[in-house]
Homo-oligomer: 191 residues x 2
């Protein structure tokens, strides 16, 4: 299965306009023509800078996790550190280091890329990059802005699959990062 | 780690208004007051009906996958069947059967729930439910609407981790469904 063998043709973009800018993301409408040329329609999508998150584990194999109130679901959510890359083309790895330090006070040495995913290819244009770092250590207190209230939890890595299965971890981008890690490094779950 | 032990307080909603309705999803603004009462701000979120997707495998352990042009990323994407639940409170399992049949012509017998995830708790209110079905069979042709052009691929289940690792599968909600399946049924990857 190679993408280069695709049987699916691309649509043609006829124009686009921004409908609303929340400053965190923008709602756009795009006028598209089907490959056959016989159909035209508007398609809506959310544009945003790329996002990043990081699985950081201590020398005790504990994941540095954050819990915070999330305004989309109006509930608290257990997650790994992450957020938006700075708009001035911040390197994803630097963004991961920054978010880890700001949200938890932990610092990473070596960072391993876990690749990227598209949060939703149908209605979002951006990517989320994920990283993995071992032997992280606490070097400072959290650096939170006024709208952030984040509790740090250290959770054994081997407990993560059970927390996903029992819906205590429900953030898709967090589950994605762990999926990438467990595919590449399954031995981490048993040590 | 129990959510009931949360140290994080909830914010208070002061009001909300819909800013734009694309008919597939709605952009909302919500006025919120922090737990301390000292901070107020507007938070933006995307509201949508719940979504569903389904990992359907044949008696040969091949996953029934779909490839289509995705307007968010302006590229083709390799995915499992899925979509929006009908707005009239469609049961997620029924939605999964419907999407599988419409997009691929394959029919499922028994469906196993793989739970749900939140696509993005920070800026989306809805859930994506995932299902798993074995021994699916082709019973009809696809039933596509005018805006859909979907190629069906049968891909051995054991190849899925490699396709995720190599970024040939990049849809977060698709990777989530496989993550849930592989956590619960790791033996499926080796048979």
């Amino acid at each position: 299965m190679k993408k280069s063998s695709s049987q699916i043709s691309h649509w043609q973009q006829l124009g686009k306009q921004m409908l609303y800018d929340t400053s965190y993301f923008q709602l756009w409408s795009r006028r598209m023509r089907s490959p056959s040329g016989h159909f035209e329609s508007d398609f809506f999508y959310i544009d945003a800078v790329n996002w990043v998150n990081v699985i950081a584990i201590t020398s005790e194999n504990e994941v540095v996790m954050v819990e915070q109130f999330r305004h989309g679901i109006q509930e608290t959510s257990l997650e790994i550190p992450g957020g938006m890359l700075d708009a001035d083309h911040e390197d994803p790895e630097e963004g991961a280091r920054r978010e880890l330090l700001e949200e938890t006070g932990f610092a990473a040495q070596r960072m391993e890329s876990l690749g990227f995913i598209h949060p939703n290819p149908a209605i979002q244009s951006n990517r989320n990059y994920s990283y993995f770092s071992e032997n992280v250590t606490r070097v400072s207190s959290q650096q939170l802005d006024i709208a952030e209230d984040i509790a740090v939890h250290l959770i054994p890595l081997a407990e993560i699959p059970g927390l996903i299965e029992s819906h205590q971890i429900t953030h898709a981008l967090v589950v994605n990062a762990f999926a990438r890690l467990f595919i590449r490094r399954p031995e981490l779950l048993t040590r």
